[in-house]
Amino acid sequence: MEILKYIGSFFVLLGSVFLFLGALGIYRMPDVYNRLQAGTKSSTLGAMSMLLGIGFLQPDWMVKMIVIIIFIAVSNPLSSHALARGAYRAGLSLFQKEKIDAYEKDYKSMEDKEL
């Protein structure tokens, strides 16, 4: 059982580090899309590994933790996707000088179909 404790502690620590990095990302990154990237990817990973770690520390809780992990895994990308789309359609420009805006063409064609 000791070994589970160590694994769990490691995952909790890792999770907290990733959560922190995610927050640092949204603080330091230059524009909203980058922040979104950092904020959601890193914090999703962080939350998931922290929950996994708690599951290892307390093996009885594992089932519920996995349920939460699945929920986060499904819901977080959705929210970040919707947000990116919202930000784009609200007219926020990208950070780079010479933009490579691959979404623009899709977006234009989608406008016609009103997807």
């Binding site: 499904v74 819901s75 990308p77 959705l78 996707h81 919707a82 009103e114």
Partner: protein
């Protein structure tokens, strides 16, 4: 001048509150020993398990000891829904359709919503069915289910919940709640009295009428909040 007066008022209010709460020690038990008299909190903690077999004492208070308050609370929500509908009521012009959302959302969100929606419903049902065992209860479960419908409203342009269905669910759940109370009255006990057997602690079926009431409250709250959302989303002011 006016602003100075308001600031003065704020300072006075803040000072009075701070002064008063400095006399109430944080984190100190006030239950057992107030002037050597038992407080209601201590009574509930000491008696709930043996008398009601309900694990969650907060639920026991909300639904049984102070069940009348919960009836009032449900009524408040019902009134808020009715009042909101009456405030925002307008007759529809001929040929006017309900427009809730202007644009459809992306394919991804639609699929995701379809995927998550049942999970939210199950979670809501879980929260109000397990109200007497775990944190949560009818109101929270109902709010969660309403949030699920909110997700569907957001994802689909033409997602509607039938007004008829909402009315039926709401009314029947409300009638069920009051009838459970009146049932106690008819069977010779008092209003809302726990007349069923209470079962054993930490069983799913325990606590007599408490899960029953929480299920009714859950359905009622879910229907009411969904109705509120629909009313609000349907209302558009032209700018």
């Amino acid at each position: 001048m006016k602003r100075a007066f308001i600031l003065l008022l704020l300072v006075v209010v803040g000072w009075v509150l701070a002064d008063t709460f400095s006399q109430i020690n944080f984190g100190e038990s006030r239950m057992g020993d107030i002037k050597q008299q038992e407080t209601v909190g201590a009574y509930y903690l000491n008696n709930t398990v043996e008398k009601l077999s309900v694990a969650n004492v907060v639920t026991a208070i909300v639904v049984n000891y102070r069940g009348f308050d919960t009836l009032g609370e449900v009524t408040v929500l019902f009134l808020a829904a009715s009042g909101l509908a009456s405030i925002l009521y307008r007759r529809k012009k001929r040929g006017e359709h309900d427009v809730m959302i202007l644009k459809n959302s992306s394919q991804l969100l639609q699929t995701g919503a379809k995927l998550i929606f049942p999970a939210i419903l199950v979670l809501g049902a879980y929260v109000f069915i397990h109200g007497h065992l775990t944190p949560g209860g009818g109101f929270q479960g109902g709010a969660i289910i309403a949030s699920g419908f909110l997700l569907m409203f957001m994802a689909y342009k033409d997602y509607h919940v039938s007004h008829n269905v909402l009315t039926w669910v709401e009314s029947i759940a409300g009638i069920l709640f009051v009838s459970v109370g009146i049932w106690g009255l008819i069977s010779g006990a008092t209003f809302l009295e726990n007349i069923l057997g209470t079962g054993t602690l930490n069983d799913l079926v325990s606590g007599g009428i408490i899960p029953l009431i929480y299920i009714a409250v859950g359905f009622k709250v879910a229907a009411e909040l969904t109705g509120v959302l629909e009313t609000l989303l349907n209302f558009k002011t032209e700018k």
